[in-house]
């Protein structure tokens, strides 16, 4: 059964990729969706087994690499953490497969698209079912590859190509840290297998090592290096720049990869490595701070963006920040819970945005929308549900998970915990503001689109709406149903898959805390309505007075410009310098070219000796003879 879950998407991908032309568009779409669908059903079954019977399984398929004591297996490892991820990945993937049939109906390369989607699902499944760091790394780079392929799916668009490469390379920077983390693990543990590593960690927790001349704690260093990988994949601040650009890809891709699954792999990694992180206070604090900063930073940027997908992308970035700071304060299960609910409502928001974009004939700028909520009621309803869930409106899924994060942070009782909780509340407010801005600008107010007639705006086809409705159900109910199982006070669900050294219970969070966030969030609705629909003047004046701040935000804190200036341009210049100066002007000039020049000069000179005149030769002979004679006489 485990084999089927993992390999069915791969088989579907291969068939659709290589024989897509022969099969025809319809068959390859149905086939891939069906295979991923079966995989999803089986995943649900496994999840049920885990839930009811504590099912777990660790299968090795065969040896991958075996060199001395470096031994790695291909494996399938099922435990509670994996089972949750299995459900998220395969279920959302199935929904997106079906949605794509509608969304890509005008595209010429449907089989290729489906093949990439299925391949992505396969890579993601190998990532979460790994029982060792190397297979995790395989899946990790594999999903990166699929992300690259799918962002650049419309290969004629230069922006899409640039974004694809950027995504891959920024991720590679993260993977660089990740790989060094793996080397370090192997060096000190002699293995890269999770269980063997985690079992030894308790013994090694005090170990200090000299790393590049600096004395550091081994576990801290490993955790930080792994976290660099997680930052790349989950688009945390400093390595986040690829995610907004990745929105150049088709919208279903954004929903699946850049919202629900791949970008959460970093969170998964941190939670999976909880037996390591638990032993390092420093690493956990770094995780919490990076998460906190990202959550805040991305929310501020989202406030002023105008591209509908970019707003949702920054929102994803921000929510991932929440997950990280949940993990950073040691509430790993809450992080996964938020990952779980987030997958539903964020995928829903993206699919909803996809419907909006479809209805507006590929318009993405929210300034050119507005006033259409009556024309596309289904889309409107879906977006509304997504937004309510995202902002944490009471009793929808986001309410349970996001508020739990804030509560846990507060109850942690440490300085970091209070900071994090504070920023969490502030960010929740910002989230509500930018989300409602999106809704109001898109659906309410005046109709601002010049390219399309108002009457031409149509609801998307059912094949797009129905899968979105499934997500909407998830966005509404996933919180209330799974709350007790995932983060209940006496839940035994997680078993050994997550290690808590000192578990925070949230028996009694103070009442003001429980009510504060929902109140703020709800009060943001009229506020946003007033600012963005009723009275635009206030904002305009505010922007004019704070031009600098506005530019700072709309340019995303100038990260792209900075990186271009620090890394990209110098790399090109240095490369050119090495080539033109180093290779051509120094090595070649003084090496082979110089040598042959010298030979030529000498031989030119040597030619002069052969004049052909007998008396020249006789003269030279005479001199030589006399030198020889002198030498013999003297010595």
């Amino acid at each position: 059964m485990e084999y089927a879950i993992i390999f069915l998407p791969l088989i579907g991908s291969i068939i659709s990729g290589f024989f897509g032309k022969k099969l025809g568009d319809n068959y390859s779409q149905i086939l891939t969706s069906l295979f991923v669908g079966i995989s999803a059903i089986l995943s649900l079954f496994i999840f049920y087994e885990v839930l009811t019977q504590n099912y777990s399984n660790n299968k090795s398929i065969y040896t991958w690499i075996s060199s001395g004591n470096f031994h790695v297996n291909w494996s399938i490892n099922i435990d509670p953490l994996t089972s949750v991820m299995l459900v998220v990945v395969s279920l959302i993937s199935t929904i997106i497969h079906v949605y794509s049939i509608g969304y890509m109906s005008h595209d010429k390369h449907k089989p290729r698209f489906m093949a990439y989607l299925s391949l992505f699902t396969f890579a993601m499944l190998t990532l979460i079912t790994a029982d060792n760091f190397l297979q995790l790394f395989f899946g990790w780079e594999g999903v990166g590859l699929c992300s690259y392929l799918l962002i650049g799916f419309w290969y004629k668009k230069p922006a899409a190509n640039a974004a694809a490469i950027k995504a891959f390379i920024v991720n590679r920077v993260g993977d660089f840290g990740f790989a060094i983390g793996i080397f370090l693990i192997f060096f000190y543990y002699g293995t890269v297998n999770y269980n063997e590593v985690f079992d030894q960690t308790g013994l090694l927790k005090e170990k200090e090592i000299i790393f590049l001349g600096i004395e550091v704690n081994l576990i801290t260093l490993i955790c930080l290096l792994l976290f660099i990988g997680a930052m790349g994949k989950s688009a945390q601040i400093l390595l986040h720049t690829w995610l907004p650009d990745a929105m150049e890809g088709p919208t279903p891709v954004s929903a699946l990869i850049h919202a629900a699954t791949m970008v959460t792999a970093g969170v998964f990694l941190v939670v999976r490595c909880s037996p390591l992180f638990e032993y390092s206070e420093v690493a956990l604090n770094v995780v919490a701070i990076i998460g906190m900063v990202t959550a805040f930073f991305a929310a501020t940027v989202a406030l002023v963006q105008n591209d509908i997908k970019k707003i949702v992308a920054y929102s994803t970035c921000s929510q991932l920040g929440y997950m990280f700071f949940a993990a950073g304060i040691g509430a790993y299960h809450v992080a996964i819970f938020h990952l779980f609910t987030h997958a539903f409502f964020k995928a829903l928001l993206f699919l909803g945005s996809g419907c909006v974009i479809h209805s507006f004939n590929d318009e993405q700028d929210i300034r050119s929308m507005g006033g259409v909520w009556k024309k596309i009621p289904m889309t409107y309803a879906l977006m509304l549900i997504g937004t309510l869930a995202l902002t944490g409106f009471p009793f929808l899924s986001g309410y349970y998970s996001k508020d739990a994060i804030i509560e846990f942070a507060y109850l942690k009782g440490s300085t970091i915990g209070y900071y994090v909780a504070g920023v969490g509340i502030l960010t929740a407010l910002l989230t509500a503001v930018y989300s409602w801005r999106l809704i109001f600008k898109t659906f309410h107010g005046k109709y601002n689109n010049k390219k399309n007639q108002f009457s031409s705006i149509k609801e998307s086809s059912l094949i797009m709406i129905i899968p979105s409705c499934l997500l909407a159900i998830g966005a509404i109910l996933s919180g209330v149903i799974f709350k007790e199982i995932f983060i209940g006070n006496d839940t035994l669900f997680w078993g050994n898959s997550i290690l808590f050294l000192n578990l925070i219970t949230h028996e009694h969070p103070p009442t003001w805390l429980i009510t504060l966030t929902p109140l703020l969030v709800i009060s943001a609705i009229p506020l946003a309505y007033y600012l963005f629909i009723k009275n635009l003047l206030i904002l305009r004046i505010f922007i004019q007075k704070n031009q600098f701040l506005y530019n700072f935000l709309i340019n995303k804190w100038y990260f792209d410009e900075l990186y271009n200036f620090i890394f990209v341009e110098p790399a090109k210049k240095v490369g050119l310098f090495f080539w033109k100066r180093g290779d051509v002007n120094i090595i070649d000039r003084y090496g082979p070219d110089g040598l042959s020049k010298i030979v030529k000069i000498i031989s030119d000179k040597a030619v002069n000796f052969q004049t052909g005149y007998l008396y020249h030769y006789a003269f030279v002979m005479l001199i030589g003879f006399s030198v020889l004679l002198t030498y013999l006489i003297l010595y």
């Binding site: 040896t63 991958w64 001395g68 190397l134 390379i169 920077v173 240095v574 290779d583």
Partner: protein, 500 residues
């Protein structure tokens, strides 16, 4: 084993070349016949070497299939034999040779007969390098390889072929002369050039340093290491596709093989002493050439520079002298042999059709050549070391190996992995993606059947060894263990000697 299978493998291509040489008749007939002979002899040879692999005993580290013929009484014996390390290179060579012949048949427009002879002679010489167990014989094969390669570049090359051919010859010969002197002095010191005996004898420490440097100068140029790498881009650019393939896939590996067999085997003390030098040069090579590759506007030059970077990993792995490092670098060499061959063939495909190697001439090829885009993508990913391709296994193990010896080197080398992604993907984007660059390239045809088979077989091997490299590990395992043990024993021996 009575049948001299190694000699057979070495000389079958030569015999094929001989047959081609004596074919007579009309131009058309000669070409047809020489094609058949070349394909037949190289494929037979491949099958024979696969048979060799199956009958190879993986449980011993001794040299197998040893053949010995007295050549000069008491001085040089024609001695052949293989162990787990050399057999992989033999397989690589016999696999790549038919591919070069197919490529040559497709793209060489004049003097095809002579071209095929050159390739077959080349194959014989390269196989000789990997089989020979006598220093002098090794030297003959090793340097003999220069001549056909020189001709391949000089006759069938591009416009600047003469300059490139001479540059290639000048660089490589310089190193070789020193190696010859070293071989002669080894004979003076030990009284033999028999490698099996030499591996057991312990050369006096004081001599080792100079001898090591002499061998190093030859191998460093061939590999090539920074700063003696500048012949490689020029040679690649001017060489015909098949020439580039041989050069990148096999010729460079002879140097890596030489490092493993001779530098480590004969001069362990010096290898230990000079390892930091190797690390430094390799790191410089990896970062320097990766950055240079980023800025190339000629596809072949870009891939050539990336080869230098990849070979940097190989030398790092070899001199890390750890199990993972050594096995990693062997796998990296095999995998780079396949990947670079494939990439040069990819360039060859578009060059045959449009006669330009400039990246800017192309763009948007995916619109007209989807199959080509697919295979090129696979090889690009393999070149940047994506897990699941053989490139990853080699690079990763090398890094695991070196990390145990020197953390800084490991970290700097890992930077090369980021840069590799940058230059390979950027190349791919500029050539394949985007709108069709010009109306002229619209006429280009997608891969034909021969090309599909060639690329499919390469892609299959790259992916297969990416997910299941076990056959390679099994083959080299014992030999590498033995190599490391001998090396350590030897070091300890000299250390003890010094302390007394």
């Amino acid at each position: 084993m009575n049948f001299p299978i190694l000699s057979a493998i070495i000389f079958i291509p030569l015999i094929g070349a001989l047959f081609i040489f004596i074919t007579r008749g009309s131009q058309k007939n000669v070409e047809k016949n020489s094609k058949y002979v070349a394909i037949f002899s190289s494929l037979t040879n491949f099958l024979l070497s696969v048979f060799l692999w199956f009958s190879f005993d993986m449980t011993t580290s001794n040299f197998q299939f040893v053949e010995k013929k007295i050549w000069m009484e008491g001085f040089i014996n024609f001695q052949l034999g293989i162990d787990g390390i050399s057999i992989l290179f033999i397989l690589l060579t016999t696999f790549i040779a038919p591919i070069c012949i197919f490529s040559g048949i497709q793209s060489i427009k004049f003097k095809l007969k002579e071209f095929l002879i050159a390739i077959l002679v080349m194959e014989t010489l390269m196989l000789g390098v990997f089989c020979s167990l006598d220093l002098v014989i090794f030297y003959l094969f090793f340097e003999g390889g220069l001549i056909p390669m020189f001709l391949i570049i000089g006759i069938w090359g591009g416009p600047k072929r003469v300059y490139s051919a001479f540059k290639f010859f000048l660089f490589t010969l310089l190193g070789s002369v020193l190696m010859l002197i070293a071989i002669i002095s080894i004979y003076w010191i030990t009284g033999t050039t028999d490698v099996i005996k030499l591996l057991d004898s312990k050369i006096i420490q004081e001599y080792q340093y100079l001898l090591w440097l002499a061998f190093f100068s030859s191998f460093a140029v061939k590999l090539p290491m920074w700063p003696v790498h500048t012949w490689l881009p020029d040679a690649h650019v001017e060489a015909p596709t098949a020439g580039s393939v041989i050069l990148a896939a096999i010729l460079l590996k002879m140097a890596g093989y030489g490092f493993i067999r001779f530098s480590l085997g004969l001069f362990p003390v010096a290898s230990d002493y000079f390892a930091p030098l190797i690390f430094t040069l390799s790191i410089v090579a990896i970062i320097y050439t990766s950055l240079v590759a980023l800025m190339q506007d000629d596809m072949k030059k870009l891939i050539a520079y990336s080869s230098v970077a990849h070979m940097g990993f190989v030398t790092i792995g070899i001199f890390s002298l750890t199990k993972q490092g050594l096995e990693g670098s062997i796998i990296q060499m095999i995998s780079h042999g396949l990947i670079s061959a494939a990439l040069f063939l990819c360039v060859g495909v578009v060059y045959d059709r449009y006669h330009s190697r400039m990246i800017s001439s192309y763009g948007g090829l995916v619109n007209i050549m989807p199959k080509y885009a697919l295979v090129f993508m696979i090889f690009t990913l393999a070149a940047l070391g994506l897990p699941g391709t053989s490139g990853f296994v080699g690079e990763f193990l090398v890094l695991v190996g070196i990390f145990q010896i020197n953390v800084l080197v490991a970290i700097l080398a890992s930077l090369g992995v980021i840069l590799a992604a940058a230059y390979m993907l950027w190349l791919y984007r500029r050539v394949i993606f985007g709108k069709l660059a010009s109306a002229e390239i619209k006429e280009m045809k997608d891969l034909n059947t021969t090309e599909i088979y060639v690329f499919a077989s390469l892609a299959f091997l790259i992916l297969f060894f990416g997910v299941y490299p076990e056959p390679l590990f099994e083959t080299v395992n014992i030999s590498v263990n033995n190599l490391i043990t001998n090396y350590q024993d030897n070091l300890n021996f000299h250390l003890a000697l010094k302390n007394n």
